[in-house]
C-alpha cells in the first residue's frame, strides 16, 4: 500500500510537471507556423521579429519538455514493472511509434528551426517550422492513443493467467482508434492550442499595458486572439463529445464527475458544489436533471450512478474528481466569455484601450494550464481503481522489486530537480519577456541584405 501511494504520487508529480510544457510547445508551434507564414507572405520585418522572439521562448519550453519527458518513458519500467509486462505489447507499440514518427521529426527539425536562419532558404526554414509543429502534434496522437487504450481498451485479447496474464494486440487499428482516443485527442490538441495562444496573449497584453513593442505586440495579440476565440468554442464541442463517450464507456467515471450515486434518479449538473462521499450527498448550485438532459436530451431520464458498481470497482476520491472536473468546466466557460468579448471589442476597434481587459489577459496565461491539469486529474483519478479500465488494478501494476525507500529517494530527487528547473524556467522566461522582441527599427544592416532574398 505504501509503495502504491508513493509510486502514484511520483507518477502524478512527474507527469503533471511534464505536462506544463508539451501543450505550450504544441500551441506555440501553431502560432509560429502562422507568424512565419505571414512573414513569408508579406515579407514584413515585424513578422520575422515576432517569429524569432517566440522561437527563443519555444526553445526554452521544448528543452524542459524533452528533459522531463524522457523521465516518463522510463518510469513505467522503473516503478510499474507489472504494468509494463501486462501492456507492453500495446502501450509499448504506441510509445515506439511516438519516438520514431513524432519525436524524431520534432527534434530533428528543431535544430534548423533554432539555428538554421542563415543556413537554409526562408522556404526551407518555414518547412522546418511546420515539421516541428507536426512532430509535436503527432506526439500527442500516440501518447493520447496509449492513454485512451487504458481508458477504453480495444483490439486486444488476454493471454495467460494470474501473474503471467498480459494483453496482446489482435487488431492494431482497433487499438489505435479505440472508443475514446479520437475524442480525447481533439480535446488535448485544442487544450494545447489554448495554452499556447494564452501565453502569447498574456505577454503581448503586458507589452500593450507598458506601451512597449507596440508594432509587434498588437498584431501578435490579434493572431493569438483569433486562435483563442475559435478554439475556446471548439473545446466546448470536443468536451461534450468526450463526456458522451465517458457516459457510454466509463459510467463509473461519469457518475464520479458529477457526484451522482443513485441509478434510478435523473442526474443533476452542478455549477459548483461539494461532495460528501460518506453520506452520498452533494451540496451546491445545480441545474436539476442537467446531466440527464446533456446525455439524453431529457431532464427526467435516469443515469447510472456510483452505487451501481461494486465499491471495489469504483473511484473513492469522488469529491476530488468532482472538484477538478468542475474547475476545468468553469475555466472553459470563462475563456469562451473572455475571448468572445475581446473579439467583439476588436471588431469595434476598441480592444486595446480597455486597460482592465489587458490586465485580465496578462494573468489569463494560468487558466488553460490549470484546466489542462485539472482535466487530466479528472480523467486519471476517475479511472481508479483501475490502471487499465476493467482489466488491471493500479495496486497490481507496481514493480515488486522496488522498495518504498527507493521511491522516496527518487521522489525527493525529482522534487528538488523539478523545483530548481521550474524556478530557472520562470526566471529565464521572465527575462526573455522583459527583454522582448527586437523592434523593426532596431534591426540593423546585418539583416537588410538577407531580406532581399525573400520574394515569395
Amino acid at each position: 500500500m505504501e509503495t502504491e501511494i508513493l509510486a502514484r504520487i511520483q507518477f502524478a508529480f512527474t507527469v503533471a510537471f511534464h505536462y506544463i510544457y508539451p501543450p505550450l510547445s504544441i500551441g506555440l508551434g501553431l502560432i509560429l507556423v502562422i507568424m512565419e507564414g505571414m512573414y513569408l507572405k508579406t515579407g514584413l520585418q515585424h513578422y520575422k521579429n515576432m517569429t524569432q522572439f517566440w522561437i527563443k521562448v519555444f526553445a526554452l519550453i521544448f528543452g524542459i519538455g524533452v528533459a522531463t519527458g524522457i523521465v516518463m518513458e522510463f518510469e513505467f519500467g522503473t516503478n510499474w514493472a507489472a504494468y509494463s509486462k501486462y501492456v507492453g505489447d500495446i502501450f509499448g507499440s504506441a510509445l515506439a511509434a511516438e519516438g520514431i514518427f513524432a519525436f524524431a521529426l520534432e527534434s530533428g527539425f528543431l535544430g534548423v528551426l533554432l539555428f538554421g536562419w542563415n543556413r537554409v532558404s526562408p522556404k526551407v526554414h518555414y518547412l522546418s517550422t511546420i515539421m516541428v509543429f507536426l512532430g509535436s502534434m503527432f506526439s500527442a496522437v500516440w501518447i493520447v492513443v496509449a492513454n485512451s487504450w487504458q481508458q477504453t481498451p480495444a483490439g486486444f485479447h488476454i493471454v495467460g493467467e494470474g501473474m503471467k496474464a498480459r494483453a496482446e494486440i489482435t487488431d492494431f487499428w482497433a487499438m489505435v482508434f479505440n472508443p475514446s482516443s479520437m475524442d480525447r485527442l481533439t480535446h488535448v490538441w485544442i487544450g494545447s492550442f489554448l495554452s499556447g495562444a494564452f501565453l502569447v496573449l498574456s505577454v503581448n497584453a503586458y507589452y500593450i499595458l507598458r506601451k512597449k513593442h507596440l508594432e509587434i505586440a498588437k498584431p501578435s495579440f490579434k493572431i493569438a486572439l483569433f486562435i483563442a476565440t475559435f478554439f475556446s468554442f471548439a473545446q466546448l464541442a470536443t468536451g461534450h463529445k468526450s463526456a458522451d463517450g465517458v457516459a457510454v464507456n466509463q459510467p463509473a467515471k461519469l457518475a464520479a464527475l458529477e457526484g451522482h450515486y443513485d441509478s434510478s434518479a435523473a442526474a443533476d449538473m452542478y455549477m459548483l458544489g461539494w461532495v460528501d462521499n460518506k453520506n452520498q450527498k452533494v451540496t451546491g448550485l445545480k441545474i436539476p436533471g442537467g446531466l440527464s438532459f446533456l446525455l439524453h436530451q431529457d431532464f427526467k431520464k435516469p443515469v447510472t450512478g456510483l452505487n451501481a458498481f461494486d465499491p471495489n470497482n469504483r473511484p473513492t476520491q469522488v469529491n476530488a474528481i468532482f472538484q477538478v472536473y468542475h474547475i476545468m468546466i468553469a475555466i472553459g466557460m470563462f475563456l469562451i466569455a473572455l475571448t468572445a468579448y475581446a473579439s467583439w471589442l476588436l471588431y469595434k476597434g476598441k480592444l486595446f484601450e480597455q486597460k482592465w481587459l489587458m490586465h485580465v489577459f496578462a494573468w489569463s496565461v494560468f487558466l488553460p494550464q490549470i484546466a489542462n491539469q485539472a482535466g487530466w486529474f479528472a480523467a486519471e483519478m476517475g479511472r481508479q481503481p483501475w490502471v487499465v479500465y476493467g482489466l488491471l488494478r493500479t495496486s497490481d501494476a507496481l514493480s515488486k522489486t522496488v522498495k518504498a525507500n527507493q521511491i522516496v529517494f527518487s521522489l525527493i530527487l525529482f522534487g528538488l530537480v523539478y523545483l530548481t528547473l521550474f524556478a530557472l524556467f520562470i526566471y529565464l522566461l521572465n527575462k526573455k519577456i522583459k527583454h522582448g522582441p527586437v523592434s523593426a527599427h532596431e534591426t540593423g544592416d546585418i539583416h537588410s541584405n538577407r531580406e532581399e532574398r525573400i520574394i515569395v
Binding site: I70, G77, T78, K85, A96, G99, A104, L105, G116
Partner: protein, 344 residues
C-alpha cells in the same frame, strides 16, 4: 516458428534494438564526449564554439534513446520491466544526468554573467560524465548478468551494480566517448582551438586504449561467458578483427590529420564493441547470474508475433524517414562552426 528472410521475428527485433542502441551510442556518444571534455577548454569563445558544434543536432541524437526505450518496451516488455526496476538507482541518476545536460545547453547562453556560465559549464560537463558512466555501469551489469527469480524479477542487493567489471566498463565507455567527442570537435573547429582539440583527441585515445586494454584482459581472464561464443565459432573472429582494425586506425588517421576517417573509425569501434556484447549474450537479453533458467531471453520476453510484425513495419517505414531528416540536418550544419546571433 514464422520467419522473415530466414530469421525469426524476435531475432529481427533484437537486431533492430541493437541497431538503435548503437545509433544512440555513436550519435549521442560524441555529444556526451564533447560535454565530458568541456572543462578542458578554458576560453569562453572556445566553449561557445564547442557547444554550438553539437547545438543543432544533440536533441535529434537523444531521440535515438527514446526510440530505443520504446523499442525495448514494445518488443521485449519483460526485459524493459526487469532492467529498469533492477537498475533503479543508476537509472534515476542517468535520467537526472540527461535532464541537466539538456537544460544546461539551453540555459547557459541565456545570461552573459561569468559566474552563471561557469556554473552551467560545470553542470553540463558533470552531467555528461554522469550519463556516460551510468550507461557504462548498466551495460557492464547486463553483460555480467544479475540475480533474477523465476518471475524475472531482480533479487540482488541494490548496490550490487557497483562491481569491478562494471566499473571498468563504465570508465572505458567514458574514455571512448571522450575520444569520439574530441574527434568530432576536431572536424568542427579551426585555428588555435582546433590545435588544442587535436592534442586532446590524442590524449583521450591513449586513455581509451589503456582502459580498453585493462577491461578486455579482465573479461578474458574472469568473465569466460563473454568470450565462449567466440571460442566455439572461429568464423565470428571477423567481428573482433574489424574492431581491432578500427581501433588501430584511429591513431593512424589522427596522425595523418584525417579527422573524418578517424571519426568513422571511432564510430565503427562503438558499433563493433556493442555487437561483440550482443553476440556473446544472444539470445539472452538479461542473464540471471544465479540460475540460467531464469534468464530473460528474446523468446520469453517477446511481445506477440502480431506486434512484432507491426513493429517491424513501423521500423521499416520510420527508419528511412528518420535517416533522411537526420542527414538533412547534419548536411545543413556541415563544416566548421560559425557563431551568429541565434547561436548558444
Amino acid at each position: 516458428m514464422e520467419t522473415l528472410l530466414g530469421l525469426d521475428y524476435n531475432t529481427w527485433w533484437f537486431l533492430v534494438f541493437g541497431g538503435v542502441i548503437s545509433g544512440y551510442a555513436i550519435l549521442d556518444g560524441f555529444d556526451l564526449g564533447a560535454g565530458a571534455l568541456h572543462l578542458f577548454l578554458k576560453k569562453e569563445e572556445s566553449r561557445r564554439i564547442a557547444l554550438n558544434a553539437i547545438g543543432p543536432i544533440w536533441d535529434g541524437n537523444e531521440v535515438w534513446l527514446v526510440i530505443g526505450g520504446g523499442a525495448l518496451f514494445a518488443g521485449f516488455p519483460v526485459a524493459y520491466a526487469a532492467i529498469f526496476s533492477a537498475f533503479y538507482i543508476p537509472f534515476m541518476v542517468f535520467i537526472v544526468g540527461l535532464i541537466w545536460r539538456g537544460v544546461a545547453i539551453e540555459f547557459r547562453s541565456k545570461e552573459p554573467g561569468k559566474k552563471w556560465r561557469m556554473a552551467w559549464d560545470f553542470i553540463y560537463s558533470f552531467a555528461s560524465i554522469t550519463i556516460a558512466v551510468s550507461l557504462g555501469l548498466m551495460l557492464g551489469n547486463v553483460a555480467l548478468g544479475i540475480p533474477l527469480n523465476e518471475e524475472h524479477e531482480f533479487i540482488g542487493d541494490w548496490l550490487s551494480f557497483l562491481n569491478p567489471f562494471s566499473i571498468m566498463v563504465a570508465i572505458t565507455s567514458l574514455a571512448l566517448f571522450m575520444m569520439h567527442g574530441a574527434i568530432f570537435l576536431a572536424m568542427k573547429t579551426e585555428n588555435r582551438l582546433f590545435a588544442k582539440i587535436t592534442v586532446l583527441a590524442k590524449n583521450f585515445t591513449i586513455f581509451f586504449l589503456v582502459a580498453f586494454g585493462f577491461s578486455s584482459l579482465y573479461t578474458l581472464l574472469y568473465i569466460p561467458h563473454l568470450s565462449d561464443q567466440l571460442r566455439s565459432h572461429p568464423a565470428y573472429f571477423i567481428l573482433p578483427l574489424i574492431m581491432f582494425l578500427a581501433i588501430a586506425n584511429i591513431p593512424r588517421q589522427l596522425n595523418k590529420r584525417k579527422y573524418r576517417f578517424a571519426f568513422i573509425s571511432s564510430s565503427v569501434t562503438i558499433a563493433s564493441l556493442l555487437a561483440m556484447v550482443a553476440l556473446e549474450v544472444f539470445p539472452v537479453l538479461l542473464m540471471a547470474s544465479n540460475n540460467s533458467a531464469n534468464s530473460i531471453t528474446i523468446t520469453n520476453a517477446a511481445s506477440s508475433l502480431k506486434t512484432m510484425k507491426t513493429l517491424l513495419l513501423i521500423a521499416g517505414i520510420g527508419t528511412p524517414l528518420v535517416g533522411a531528416y537526420t542527414l538533412f540536418v547534419f548536411w545543413t550544419f556541415k563544416g566548421k562552426v560559425q557563431i551568429d546571433e541565434m547561436s548558444y
